[in-house]
């Protein structure tokens, strides 16, 4: 079993979220959960795609490395989360990227569609900050410590 500190602690997490409060709440919870990974934020769908594609202002991969894990809100400006997810799965290089949907929607259609498009998990944003903390701990334990990413997932190359 890989130890979080030795393998996954320095991998980038891309948080796709338009609400600054939620960005704050997640960041707060990640800190409290002692997740030390660098977190990049994309505030709308197009930005998320640009980031992942290394386009525009995200061209510098040193500064904006490909994430190991994407936390994706669904209700996003410009391009909604499901569109982003669909784009990701259409990219050969990103087929195995871990995408966790994190949204306030409990709309059944969204859940079904997200899984169909290849989401790795579907989480509902908790109202209670304590529950948010629990959730972040769970993400840490499962995705960052126990989960085995596909080979080469940490050395993804820029796509173009």
């Amino acid at each position: 079993m890989n130890d979080y500190r030795t393998i996954n602690n320095n991998r980038t997490i891309l948080h796709v979220e338009d609400l600054p409060e939620d960005v704050f709440l997640l960041k707060y919870a990640l800190q409290r959960a002692e997740i030390t990974n660098p977190v990049q934020v994309a505030s709308d769908g197009q930005e998320a795609i640009d980031y992942l594609a290394g386009a525009g202002k995200f061209a510098d991969r040193q500064k904006f490395p490909l994430p190991y894990l994407v936390l994706l809100d669904l209700k996003l400006p410009i391009k909604i989360g499901l569109e982003v997810l669909e784009w990701i799965r259409s990219q050969p290089a990103l087929k195995s990227l871990i995408v966790i949907v994190l949204t306030s929607s409990i709309h059944e259609g969204d859940i079904k569609r997200a899984y169909e498009l290849g989401a790795n998990a579907f989480l509902v944003k908790p109202s209670d900050s304590k529950v948010t903390l629990d959730m972040c701990k769970a993400i840490k334990h499962f995705w960052l410590q126990h989960n085995q990413p596909p080979l080469g997932a940490h050395e993804l190359r820029p796509v173009r």
């Binding site: 939620d22 709440l25 306030s104 409990i106 709309h107 109202s127 209670d128 900050s129």
Partner: protein, 1055 residues
């Protein structure tokens, strides 16, 4: 025999010698003959030549004679000198002819002869002339003529010519003579040489013949020796031997043959065999073909036919047997026949005696068999076979003890012992045991069998069946009975034909059955197919009680007739006390009380195999029917069945006629009273029958219609009617038509009839009439037209309405879509600020709690809980709206399992926090698992929430089956099997009666938020979810006594 054949066949050498000798002889004979022939011819030719010579000589001498005569006459003038002349002249012609013949035969050259004859003619003429001259002119004149020398010259010429011919002849004769000498020489030589050769051959042949004779003598001697030996043998053997040659002549017979034929050899030899050995067929007395002659014919060994007798010379008839064989030489040629035969008189006598005995034994009806002193069966006759049932091969070699019952075997052994000591045991009565195990009475005798030495070697036994004897005794009685039965049946048959009163015949039938079976009681039951019961129709000799008990029987009852009815076969109860039919039944008591010990029931079955009834007879003693009785009973049953069948058929016919009559009258009344017009028309469209209704429509009385044509009564309809009639006749089928016209009742009004015309056929299938069903549709047509108008209006209205509906539906759809959008926003957008408020308040509390005063902390807590409640509310509303929208397809759900799972996942529903108890088993329901979970969770949450403070919540869940209809479920599931009501009983605070009606409404809360927080949507969700699953909800409660909530759903069909 080899020598003998040499005798008979000359050697080839000898044959060749003889052939050569004969050949030689023939050659010499031929040669001699030929030479002789040549000599004879030569001689004949010689003789002829001499004759020719002589003729020539004679010719010339005749001429000379004539000349001499002439000279004499001339010189003398005396006429006597003329005589030689005239004689010769007379001969000359003959001689000339002879010469001509020779010339013609080419024995003399023709030319010379002609010349000679010419000359002779001339000479003759000269002579005659001179004679004439002498006579007339005298001597001188004549001499003058002669002296001319003419005559002499002629004569010389003739003489020259003839002497030439003579020379030639003489030469010929010389040649012939020389040839004759030559041939005589040859002849002599040939003869001598041939004779010498023949002599040589004769010597040679004589030698060979002598040799052959020597051999032959030796062979004959040997053959004689053999013959002597053979004939001595043949003479001395016991069998008669007779031999013949190929013609059938006897050549030999030995002593025995002499004895049998009664003829000595001397007398017999050379005679025909048929005479010596006259034989005939013993049975027919006809002469039989002698085997010897047969052998001669077929050339093969033949045996004597059986039963041949020889008639000896002294008149004895001797049965003989044996055979005859051909005698062949080396080349296989038959040259004689030998017949060997034997007197079988003695043997024949023994055979006949044995055959007679065997025939007697075999044809005896008694069982005759023999056994050894050990009791093993050794012979077995046909009588024994029939009596005991064993085939000979099944019993011979087996112990005779098998033939007697085990208890009598010892007795049989003692019989064998006594017979073994020479005793003869005469007829004693005992019991025999057949192969099939049945016993029968026999009269048995046993005698010892002695051999020639006087030893007892076996036992001969004779058994005679006494049963059989008894049976024979009773035959006469049975015949009398049969005659009586026959008379009864005849009488009965006669009555069947004449009697119309069925019951009287049935009574008599019962009497006959009683008589035939020698019963004391009897009855006849009839079978009723509709009920399957037998009912007594005729009975003799029964008590009222008995008849009451058995009067009407079903097939399942305990009675012989019931059994026979089931089996459709005769049932004989030999003894009611031991019969399984009656064992332990009340019927047994009834029978015994009636004094009945035995019953027979014979079913009466018609020729198609249907049961018609039952003929039973009852006996006061145990009973076993005899074959004769059964046969008569069968005949009776046959008659009875025929009678019943006839009766049934007649009744049925009667009923059917009655029914038909009734039906016709019903049909007639319906016809008349029918609310539609009915009539029957003939093919000329004349009314043959019409009902009241149509008569009324047409405006004439019914009577006025009959016999009138449509043309006369309703002229406006005539052509239409003709057209319809034509179509009916063309198609042969029902024709529907609409007829329009006026009637006298409503002049000027166009009336419309909807009519059906159907063909009516006679028995041969030809259409003779048409039936018409007419319905006036004038009014209906008018109404239909109005209706059409109304419908058109309605349609236009409906089209508008549909449009409206479509518009509204579209509106509604967009509303729903909006609502969905609203709830989506609600879930996402409205919850986001709430989450922020709540989370941020908590973070402030965490980060700065210690810097805040109590009041600020309380406010922050209030913010947190308020926003949390709002979030809950939003989520519940969303759930509610989802329940309203989503379609549901109920499936069978194991609700007990589901509840256990819910409890398991929720610690607050488990001990010690709460005591939730399932009173299983809970029936499976038709539902939707997620909705059910929602309902159950909400009920349980309520149950543990609404309890007085400090009380441990206690919930009991149980199920109850209810009928679907009673609760008026809005949905009915075709695969549901009633309903299941799930009860959730708590020990909570209860619900006041007046509030119970509204607690399932949305946003209904009964209790202050402080003590029992809630959104007021939970029960509304339960109700909605239950309704979506086709179920209902409800509550029964008293304040402070807990509540009993229920959820009723269709029950799943039990598997």
């Amino acid at each position: 025999m080899a020598k003998k054949t040499t005798l008979r066949r000359p050697t080839p050498r000898l044959i060749s010698v003889f052939v050569s000798a004969i050949g030689l002889l023939l050659v010499s004979v031929g040669a001699t003959y030929y030479i002789g022939l040549v000599a004879v011819q030569n001689n004949r030719r010689l003789a002829h030549e001499v004759t020719v010579l002589q003729q020539l000589e004679a010719y010339i001498s005749t001429l000379l004679s004539m000349e001499t005569g002439q000279r004499g006459f001339v010189l003398t003038g005396q006429h006597e000198y003329l005589d030689p002349y005239t004689q010769a002249a007379a001969q000359l012609d003959k001689r000339s002819t002879t010469l001509r013949v020779y010339a013609s035969q080419r024995e003399l050259p023709g030319q010379s002869v002609d010349h000679i004859l010419q000359l002779a003619h001339a000479k003759t003429a000269e002579l005659e002339k001179t004679i004439q001259i002498r006579k007339e002119q005298g001597e001188a004149a004549a001499l003058t003529v002669i002296q001319t020398g003419e005559g002499k010259r002629l004569m010389d010429s003739i003489r020259d010519e003839i002497s030439q011919l003579q020379d030639q002849s003489r030469a010929n004769i010389q040649a012939d003579l020389s040839r004759a000498r030559h041939s005589a020489l040859i002849r002599t030589f040939t003869f001598i040489s041939m004779t010498l050769l023949n002599v040589a051959f004769l010597f040679w042949a004589a030698r060979l013949i002598l040799k052959a004779i020597e051999r032959r003598d030796a062979a004959v001697q040997e053959a004689t020796n053999q013959r002597t030996m053979l004939s001595t043998t043949l003479t001395s053997i016991g069998d008669a031997v007779i031999a013949t040659d190929t013609t059938g002549a006897v050549t030999f017979l030995n002593t025995e043959a002499e004895r049998l034929t009664g003829r000595d050899s001397s007398e017999a030899i050379g005679k025909d065999i048929a005479e010596v050995l006259p034989i005939s067929n013993e049975l027919t007395g006809q002469p039989a073909e002698n085997p010897i002659l047969k052998v001669l014919k077929v050339g093969k060994v033949v045996g004597l036919a059986n039963h041949t007798v020889l008639l000896s010379k002294d008149g004895r008839r001797i049965p003989i047997e044996d055979s005859a064989a051909p005698v062949r030489d080396e080349s296989g040629k038959v040259y004689g026949v030998v017949m060997v035969f034997r007197d079988v008189t003695e043997r024949r006598k023994t055979d006949i005696a044995r055959e007679r005995l065997a025939a007697i034994v075999e044809s005896s009806d008694d069982a005759i068999f023999s056994k050894t002193l050990d009791g093993i069966v050794t012979t077995w006759n046909r009588g024994a076979q029939e009596m005991f049932g064993y085939e000979p091969n099944q019993i011979i070699g087996q112990p005779a003890a098998k033939l007697f019952p085990p208890e009598l075997v010892e007795r049989e052994k003692s019989v064998i012992r006594r017979v073994g000591q020479g005793e003869h045991i005469d007829h004693y009565e005992t019991v025999g045991l057949r192969k099939d195990g049945t016993r029968f009475d026999i009269s048995h005798s046993a005698s010892p069998v002695w051999n020639r030495r006087g030893e007892i070697v076996g036992i001969s036994a004779i058994a005679r069946s006494i049963t059989e004897r008894k049976r024979l005794d009773s035959t006469q009685r049975e015949l009398a009975d049969e005659l009586a039965n026959m008379e009864r049946l005849n009488r009965l048959a006669a009555r069947f034909i004449s009697e119309r009163d069925v019951h009287a015949v049935l009574d008599e039938m019962v009497d006959t059955a009683i008589a035939i079976t020698r019963a004391s009681k009897g009855n006849l039951q009839l079978f009723e197919p509709s009920t399957g019961h037998l009912t007594i129709e005729a009975a003799r000799g029964f008590s009222r009680e008995w008849l009451d008990f058995f009067g009407n029987l079903g097939g399942g009852q305990d009675a012989a007739c019931a059994q026979a009815m089931r089996l459709k076969e005769r049932v004989v109860v030999h003894d009611v006390r031991s019969s399984p039919i009656f064992a332990g039944t009340p019927a047994l008591d009834v029978q015994l009380k009636e004094g009945i010990l035995a019953v027979q029931s014979s079913p009466l079955i018609n020729r198609s195999g249907d049961l018609l009834g039952m003929l039973s007879t009852h006996f006061t003693e145990t009973y076993t029917p005899s074959e004769t009785e059964l046969r008569w009973l069968d005949l009776l049953c046959r008659q009875a069945a025929d009678l019943l069948e006839r009766n049934r058929a007649e009744t049925a016919l009667h009923k059917s006629q009655e029914r038909t009559r009734l039906e016709i009258s019903q049909i007639e009344s319906i016809y008349q009273a029918a609310p539609m017009g009915l009539c029957v028309l003939d093919l000329e469209l004349r009314y043959r029958r019409i009902n009241e209704r149509l008569a009324e429509i047409n405006g004439f009385s019914r009577e006025a219609h009959i016999g009138k044509r449509v043309h006369e009564l309703l002229p406006t309809l005539a052509s239409q009617a003709e057209e319809v009639l034509r179509r009916v006749l063309d198609t042969g089928d029902v024709v529907r038509a609409e007829l329009r016209g006026e009637t006298p009742t409503q002049p000027g009004v166009q009336r419309i009839w909807d009519e059906r015309w159907y063909p009516i056929r006679d028995a041969a299938g030809a259409i003779t009439r048409v039936g018409v069903v007419a319905e006036e549709v004038t009014e209906r047509k008018r109404m239909e037209a109005e209706l059409d108008r109304a419908r058109a209006e309605l349609q236009s209205h409906a089209a508008g309405l549909e449009k409206t509906v479509a518009e509204r539906t579209a509106d509604l759809r967009s509303s729903i879509a909006e609502l969905e959008g609203f709830s989506y926003s609600l879930s996402h957008d409205m919850r986001a600020p709430l989450r922020t408020i709540q989370s941020f308040s908590q973070i402030v509390m965490e980060q700065a709690g210690d810097k805040l005063g109590q009041m600020e902390k309380d406010l922050l807590t209030t913010i947190t809980s308020a926003s949390s409640r709002l979030d809950r509310l939003i989520q519940d509303v969303l759930t509610y709206s989802r329940v309203i929208r989503s379609p549901v397809r109920p499936v069978p759900v194991n609700v007990e399992e589901l509840i256990r799972q819910i409890i398991h996942e929720r610690p607050e529903l488990q001990l010690p926090k709460a005591d939730v108890h399932i009173e299983g088993p809970l029936h499976r329901v038709l539902g939707h698992e997620a909705y059910l979970t929602q309902c159950i969770t909400n009920y349980l949450d309520n149950a543990i929430k609404f309890v007085p403070p400090g009380t441990q919540p206690r919930v009991t869940i149980r199920a109850e089956r209810v009928e679907t209809a009673s609760n008026g479920s809005p949905h009915h599931h075709p695969n549901s099997d009633g309903c299941v009501r799930l009860w959730f009983e708590d020990n909570g605070i209860g619900i006041p009666k007046e509030s119970q009606g509204r607690i399932f409404g949305i946003f209904e809360r009964l209790n202050p938020d402080a003590s029992y927080p809630g959104t007021g949507i939970g029960l509304a969700i339960v109700r909605k979810a239950a309704e979506r699953m086709g179920g209902t909800v409800g509550v029964e409660s008293e304040p402070r006594e807990g509540s009993r909530f229920w959820l009723q759903l269709p029950a799943a069909t039990t598997q």
